[in-house]
């Protein structure tokens, strides 16, 4: 291995009683791309926050370029040449690229000089790394991929030699992700060190030189990427063997359960987000909607589930019309057998401050099973919740525990258990495994397939292309509020990626 850019020795960090990092040792070689993988809550972000000076380790040593370093604030980290690109961008939306780049690094009381200096510096960075961005563009007018590039430029402008990227591809199209990887390779060729935090194993395989795996606060292994496999990494992450590919039989599609015709939905600003969309879902099939986040999938889900009013269009549920443009509310749709697992389980699908059993009736609290006159039938509710906890292996198995104290995967299981156990005819699911750990993903996918095999119509919306491809019997691709193509599950990633980017690809279609 090349000389170490960063060495972490015996890092420990606890939050109250929770040990987020314990005895972490890590060596990152200079001029390499080093991946760090692990499930949610494995301690990756905590470790990087310690390195970037957001937190301080309880014990342990950090060495940068062989020298012991004391990193107390992000400014210390920047001074040592460490830059960070956050998962959620830290940009001022109504500033230009240049203004964002110099923000916090202004060299003078008047901006003119700083801006001139930044402009020439940006030109140099653009030449050296292929980081093309219009310096005078306003951030909010740039696509997400370019915004991320501005974040990278910000770090390089501050003299970063070591660049940490936290889940950088979550918001990117496959093409944008590829471009990012090209940039990262170029940075590496120029001698920069890149640390990539992700839970997407394929990215790790595609771009990193070495990879470290974290599990439950400990560093369980470091491997040379060329000498490991996706399966081995997944097993290291979870601590047991996992099925990455869902096994499922042929779909036996039956009658049309949900027919959507010419549906148009606008968001609160009046922008048309779903533009004249039509599709059917049959009993016994899973229809997947692929697309980059923000192309109208969320609004489509909200409209079909009655949360958001549609502007126009007609929808038939079991052959009978429902009025999504006016009267229909989520309660009525639920009564008619349409269950909905929303994308945002923290604010929509669950009330985090509630006990688990209270959430297990959310939306079904009108059901006489859970009531005694105007009163809640507490015993019935808790027993029902306990049954679901057993059936869906929700952990910890405590129906009185506050929902916020469950992990992401278990929270999602609470929602799924609630919706699936109502035995709906149609199940629509937004981002079934967002923020869910690998072990729970497998479980959730199996459940969805089981629903299909029981003859339910299932609609899955996900920004994870892999998930769409492995679950769906038919794939619809959304771009700019329209369905731009329908493919079978055998469609290649490249083909879907082009559709997702809005590029009509005739050869692929034929």
């Amino acid at each position: 291995m090349a000389q170490a850019a960063i060495e972490l020795i015996g890092i420990n960090k606890s939050f109250g009683a929770v040990r987020a990092n314990r005895d972490i040792n890590l060596e990152i070689g200079r001029g390499t791309i080093h991946g760090i993988v692990g499930e949610n809550g494995a301690g990756k972000s905590t470790l990087m926050s310690i390195l970037y000076g957001f937190y301080q380790a309880d014990s342990g040593e950090i060495r940068v370029g062989g020298q012991p370093a004391s990193i107390k604030t992000p400014n210390d980290a920047i001074a040592l040449g460490i830059g960070m690109v956050h998962q959620h961008f830290m940009l001022v939306d109504n500033f230009t690229v240049l203004e964002n780049v110099i923000l916090g690094a202004e060299s003078d009381a008047l901006l003119k000089k700083s801006i001139a200096k930044a402009r020439s510096e940006l030109e140099r960075l653009e030449r050296e790394y292929g980081l093309e961005v219009d310096p005078d563009a306003i951030i909010e007018e740039l696509p997400v991929g370019l915004q991320q590039r501005v974040e990278i430029l910000k770090a390089l402008y501050r003299g970063a030699e070591i660049l940490i990227l936290d889940e950088p591809t979550g918001v990117l199209t496959p093409a944008e992700a590829d471009h990012l990887f090209r940039i990262l390779r170029q940075l590496k060729d120029q001698g920069k060190t890149v640390v990539l935090i992700t839970h997407k194993l394929r990215e790790i395989m595609a771009i990193t030189d070495t990879v470290s795996v974290m599990r439950q606060g400990t560093m369980v292994a470091t491997r040379e990427t060329a000498k490991t496999t996706v399966e081995e990494l997944a097993e290291l992450m979870v601590g047991r063997r996992v099925l990455l590919r869902v096994e499922k039989g042929e779909a036996a599609a039956g009658a049309v359960k949900l027919a959507v015709k010419n549906l148009t939905v606008r968001d609160t600003r009046g922008v048309t987000m779903v533009d004249d969309i039509s599709f059917d879902i049959r009993a016994g099939e899973i229809v997947g909607i692929a697309g980059v986040a923000g192309n109208g999938q969320s609004e489509l889900l909200e409209a079909i589930s009655g949360i958001r009013r549609a502007v126009s269009g007609s929808v038939m549920l079991d052959g009978k019309p429902i009025d999504l443009t006016g009267a229909a509310d989520p309660g009525e749709l639920r009564d008619r057998g349409l269950a909905h697992v929303p994308e945002d389980r923290h604010h929509v699908g669950l009330v985090l401050a509630f006990e688990e059993n209270e959430n297990s009736i959310l939306g079904y609290h009108d059901d006489p099973r859970y009531l005694r006159g105007p009163f809640l039938n507490i015993d019935a509710i808790r027993n029902d919740a306990k049954d679901k906890i057993t059936k869906y292996d929700i952990r910890p198995a405590d129906c009185r525990l506050k929902t916020a104290n469950f992990s992401g995967g278990n929270q999602q299981k609470i929602v799924l258990a609630r919706e699936m156990e109502q035995d709906p005819g149609v199940l629509i699911v937004g981002q079934p495994t967002r923020g869910v750990d690998v072990g729970a993903i497998e479980f959730i996918h199996k459940r969805l397939i089981a629903m299909r095999d029981q003859g339910k119509a299932v609609l899955v919306v996900s920004v994870e292309l892999d998930e769409i491809r492995s679950l769906s019997d038919r794939i619809l691709v959304m771009f700019a509020g329209r369905i731009v193509g329908e493919r079978g599950p055998e469609a290649t990633e490249g083909e879907l990626g082009l559709l997702m980017a809005g590029i009509e690809h005739q050869e692929a279609a034929e």
Partner: protein, 379 residues
């Protein structure tokens, strides 16, 4: 990235932390007392003795507490639905009108035990109606409930002043108040309960409304945690989006919660009007609605906490009056400072000491802070 937020055992959460906050408030208040040249320890003794030392003091403390239980419950019910009802003051004030109509109509013909239920209904109805308009504006027009309820306090005050210097005032009287009620609208005192314990009471206004307040505290608990309506209110209060998802009508839940809140606020008027003064006078609420906000916050929006917090504030009122009497350097305004400090530490700075106490608990007994639960267990 999530910051683990360890939870504390319930007794620490609901008992220890409020006590520490209270203690700090009194320490700071002690410095203020020191500043005006009095002995803070002696002041504390006078305060506590004034409130609990004699039978009369206890009765006064509980009389004030009755008022605060109603306003505290009123604020809490709205808060559980995510609504900040600052209009408790006005809702209670205008409810005096409903009580006046009932009492002035029936006090010569009906006994108190028939007038009282009618007055309860009238007070609750008028308070609820006064809350209905801001609730409707919030639900249908998005007018912020904080702004509208504040404005409705002023409107209520203006209406009451007009009525009390005009239509409701006996012709020959010079005082801005109704005529005094007859025996049929005077509530029985409860002082005999305290006398059962051997204390002597000269004259104190503690009356049956205190029992009504305790019943209401229980009913509010039942409503919030045991009924479907309460479940819907809490859902909306925590997350309007989740409520929408669950098919809960925003308009219906906002209006219902605010009317219950207004009704409870209205019932507060029974205590001073029928239990003490036996007339409706100008400014009889005198800030109790705003104290209700502090009571509700300090009581953690739980009826048991609210009753305890109301008794604490009753103590500050009663003991404070004694203190102002015994120590001339400490004026009535000083008492307001002490109350303000209690509100500051118990309400606004509620979580100031929480991290330290959590760390303390974590180091002594990791299990007690729910380490198992917080540690994200992979499924």
């Amino acid at each position: 990235m999530s910051t683990p937020y360890a939870k504390l055992p319930a007794w620490a959460d609901y008992g220890l932390i409020p006590l520490i906050n209270l203690f700090v408030a009194f320490v700071v208040a002690g410095f203020v007392v020191l500043l005006v040249g009095e002995n803070p320890l002696r002041a504390a003794v006078i305060l506590v003795e004034g409130a609990f030392g004699k039978g009369t003091g206890i009765a006064f403390t509980l009389f004030y507490a009755t008022t605060f239980i109603f306003t505290g419950l009123s604020v809490a019910v709205a808060a559980h639905c995510g609504l900040f009802n600052i209009g408790t003051e006005g809702q209670a004030y205008i409810a005096g009108l409903g009580i006046a109509i009932v009492c002035l109509s029936f006090d010569s013909t009906l006994p108190w035990w028939l007038t009282f239920p009618l007055a309860i209904i009238a007070a609750a109805a008028v308070g609820a109606l006064w809350a209905l308009i801001p609730a409707y504006l919030q639900a249908k027009r998005g007018s912020h409930i904080v702004i509208t309820t504040i404005m409705f306090n002023f409107i209520a005050a203006s209406i009451m002043v007009y009525l009390l210097v005009g239509p409701l005032k006996p012709a020959a009287s010079q005082a801005p108040q109704t005529r005094n009620f007859l025996a049929g609208a005077e509530l029985p005192k409860l002082n005999w309960i305290i006398e059962l314990f051997g204390a002597k009471i000269r004259s104190a206004p503690l009356n049956v409304t205190f029992l009504l307040a305790l019943v209401m505290a229980f009913l509010v608990w039942l409503l919030i945690w045991r009924t479907k309506l309460g479940y819907e209110m809490r859902t909306y209060g925590h997350s309007p989006k989740a409520a929408r998802y669950a098919g809960i009508s925003e308009t219906r839940i906002i209006i219902t919660a605010m009317m219950i809140s207004g009704g409870l606020a209205g019932m507060m008027a029974l205590n001073p009007v029928m239990g003490d003064q036996h007339n409706v006078a100008i400014d009889f609420v005198s800030g109790a609605g705003f104290v209700g906000i502090a009571v509700a916050l300090m009581g953690r929006l739980h009826p048991v906490g609210i009753v305890l917090a109301a008794i604490l504030f009753g103590m500050l009122y009663q003991g404070g009056a004694e203190l102002a009497f015994e120590m001339p350097a400490i004026s009535r305004d000083m008492i307001v400072i002490i109350q303000g400090l209690v509100i500051l530490f118990a309400g606004a700075l509620e979580h100031m000491f929480r991290p330290y106490i959590q760390a303390l608990f974590a180091s002594f007994s990791p299990r007690s802070v729910g380490m198992e639960a917080v540690k994200g267990k992979g499924a």
